[in-house]
Symmetry: C2
Subunit: 295 residues, 2 copies
């Protein structure tokens, strides 16, 4: 199979679904919906929703049934980017080559657009028009999404990251930041895709190992790209982590060792799927693709 | 029945439950959990959770079954206060007589504490340890909570409020702000309490009329207090709306007419419950109490 066309066809499908799920710009308050849509349609890679869809397919589920939840995960991811870019946080002016949300709509609107996207994600997850699974499973999905995004997940990772900026941190703290800030929502995407695809317990355990490995590998690859990458691939200034005194894997263990670690995690991810058939091929290729960005 | 002791015993019960549901300050990241708890335990009136409990009781439901959802509503309310107080929004230094969250923990932590409280609310709503109703009803509760808090509810009201500051607005815009910014979550609290109490369709319709009326009455009373009240009751500086150029009911129709309007709404709220027995007495007394604060 061709990963590139798999990714592109899913990006199209996700973008179309997001168009449908998000309130139109003409809906009041217009400025708020405009701000929400600006960041949602800013050309993201849609990694989290694609992982949810691919995980659903890996357990022979119907990908249409996971599409709303996949879009909800992208809303959660986008809200976190909007808030991370705020002046009080990372104070970034550009994201994916475009001015950040608060640069275009002002700080108040950016805060509110993030709040609204997070809230809309949960509304969508519970929306009776779109939920196909049994209600008990949908509740489980909501719980996983909220746990992964909350104070002991993504927000927790960002809080520790902010606290640590400019100060010497130890390796466990770096791992905490990476597994929480980025890893948790990636893992949740894989688990949610599996659950809504009807995964059995054993399959869920395999997907969980895959999600953990891929989540950390993705962040290490991002760290590596910050040192070596070009701005287009990264979507932000090269060396910006370093300039900001952020701890990274290459800073801790050198570039070569960081690459080794990412490759090991990639292998671990693929090995986790050994008992799954060719329906899991997209997941396998995505694991490789995540690393290749930084190799 | 004595409203004061009813309110106090419910405040105690809600505070105890929030202590249980929220991660301890010792849980990592400690600074984040400290910030979340600081604002949750800042001496709020717990109006929304109490309305949820009272609505549950009004339809002969078991109040224990609504307690987690009631606490989730308080978390959503508290997150909105933290974000509203931010420098980019209302830029308030004090709330309920104490320094606001960002004054104590810094802007980044305040943004994240708000984000985490909102997320934690949905985690709690879906938490299998606490949900007593059938999963279908729980999903309905989550959808109502998210809709009322989102871009076409509370956050939408705040967005229009921010946009309108310092400029001349018309009466429909003022009503939009009030019914969305404050009214939506109050209405949701009443509806969620009814739903989890097992309300029938007709009872839910009555509760909805009650919730709409009380939600608007509460905000008009708040407007009146801003002109006439003392700082203790209000928890913020008297005249602060005026100073900030915020539109209020008294500014539009004068103090006497605003009071009349609030009283009318209070009567309407109580009349909505005419077919309910004495189990709805707390709701009746709360409607009166909301107005009396400003009379």
């Amino acid at each position: 199979m061709d990963l590139k066309s798999y990714l592109q066809s899913n990006i199209d499908r996700i973008d179309q679904a997001l168009q449908q799920y998000l309130p139109e710009e003409s809906v009041l308050p217009q400025s708020l919906h405009k701000a929400m849509r600006y960041s949602i349609f800013a050309g993201g890679k849609r990694l989290r929703p694609i992982l949810a869809i691919a995980s659903c397919e890996a357990v022979s589920g119907n990908p249409d049934h996971v599409l709303p939840a996949a879009c909800a995960l992208e809303m959660i991811h986008t809200y976190s980017l909007i808030h991370d870019d705020l002046p009080a946080m990372d104070d970034d002016d550009f994201r994916r080559g475009r001015p950040t949300n608060h640069k275009v709509f002002g700080e108040a609107n950016a805060i509110l657009a993030g709040d609204a996207l997070l809230t809309e994600a949960f509304r969508l997850l519970a929306d009776p028009r779109y939920t196909q699974a049994d209600p008990q499973t949908v509740l489980q999905v909501i719980e996983i999404a909220a746990r992964s995004a909350g104070s002991q997940g993504m927000v927790g990772g960002q809080a520790v990251d902010m606290e640590s900026e400019g100060s010497q941190i130890d390796f466990p703290t770096l791992e905490y930041i990476h597994t929480h800030k980025t890893g948790a929502l990636i893992l949740a995407s894989v688990q949610i895709g599996g659950l809504l695809g009807g995964a059995e317990k054993g399959q869920l355990a395999c997907l969980t190992r895959y999600g953990e490995a891929v989540g950390l590998a993705f962040q290490i690859a991002d760290d590596i790209l910050d040192v070596t990458g070009d701005q287009t691939e990264l979507g932000k200034g090269v060396g910006s982590d370093q300039a900001r005194g952020k701890a990274t894997y290459p800073a801790f263990m050198g570039l070569r060792e960081a690459r080794n670690r990412a490759n090991e995690l990639c292998t671990l991810a693929i090995d986790s799927l050994v008992e799954m058939g060719e329906g899991a091929d997209p997941l396998r290729l995505i694991a490789r693709y995540i690393i290749d960005r930084s190799n």
